[in-house]
Symmetry: C2
Subunit: 147 residues, 2 copies
Amino acid sequence: MRFMSSAADQDRVAGMLKGAGLRPTRQRMALGALLFGGGDRHLTAEMLHLEAIQSRIPVSLATVYNTLRQFTEAGLLREVAIEGSKTYFDTNISDHHHFYFERDGVLMDIEHDGVSLLSLPKPPDGMEISRVDVLVRLVAKNPNETR
Amino acid sequence: MRFMSSAADQDRVAGMLKGAGLRPTRQRMALGALLFGGGDRHLTAEMLHLEAIQSRIPVSLATVYNTLRQFTEAGLLREVAIEGSKTYFDTNISDHHHFYFERDGVLMDIEHDGVSLLSLPKPPDGMEISRVDVLVRLVAKNPNETR
DNA sequence: CTGTGTGCAAACTCTTTGCATAAGT
DNA sequence: ACTTATGCAAAGAGTTTGCACACAG
């Protein structure tokens, strides 16, 4: 159950924060527990704020934004490139790609083994590749369309 | 020279607009000439607005936004997924991918032959792939780093 | 104690919208 | 003429920031 952060979770989150040079404050610990307590997650600031409130963790939206930013700069999170206004953060920092459900704006990691391998193009002149993002956009097959 | 739209350009743009069910008004013709007059382009609403003003085409930023939106819905443009606030539009509608220069926020098409081929993962349950976006992020090789 | 973190509200940026005027067919 | 597009300014969404108070070490 995600709303209950175990002692082990707490220690782990505290360690992550310390390692990143961030003081383990109430809010950061609580948000860290939500973020890193379960599997890989993809959320926006608003989603996380809502979860925090529902988990009875009093935290302001501004602090959620600031915290997500700090975590990202510390390398604990990764921003996902989606067009549109909202910024998504991914708790999975490893090199991986995403499915994107266009209808409901949900992101999902692509399994690392089912992974898309690609032959990269050569970067121009004095440039080098820092990262490759792959977004596989999904739409529902029309269920009415029996064919 | 891009600022001079030839008669041929005008006819072509007019045709594109009509084909999309959009009336060929001054502003749409002018913006269309800027967008589709040269090679493939990647711009934000602000960039296009600036260009229009510089080309002595009086058009409001709101109209630029509306026009870009309409063109996109008509299939004349394509939105590019970049994280962050600004929305980029691409005049190249074909299936292709992008280099992204992180330092200056510039987009560039990846040549279709140098193209990155990838073995796609199988989409979940009742889903099907609508499009795959690949963004290759580039940073400058450190010139000081002689090694 | 001393300094960093947090909350709140205000500021900011990018984008969309409402309404009166102008332009297209 | 009749309808659709445009311009302007105001409204909206998402995100950031400044400052006083609270908390961690």
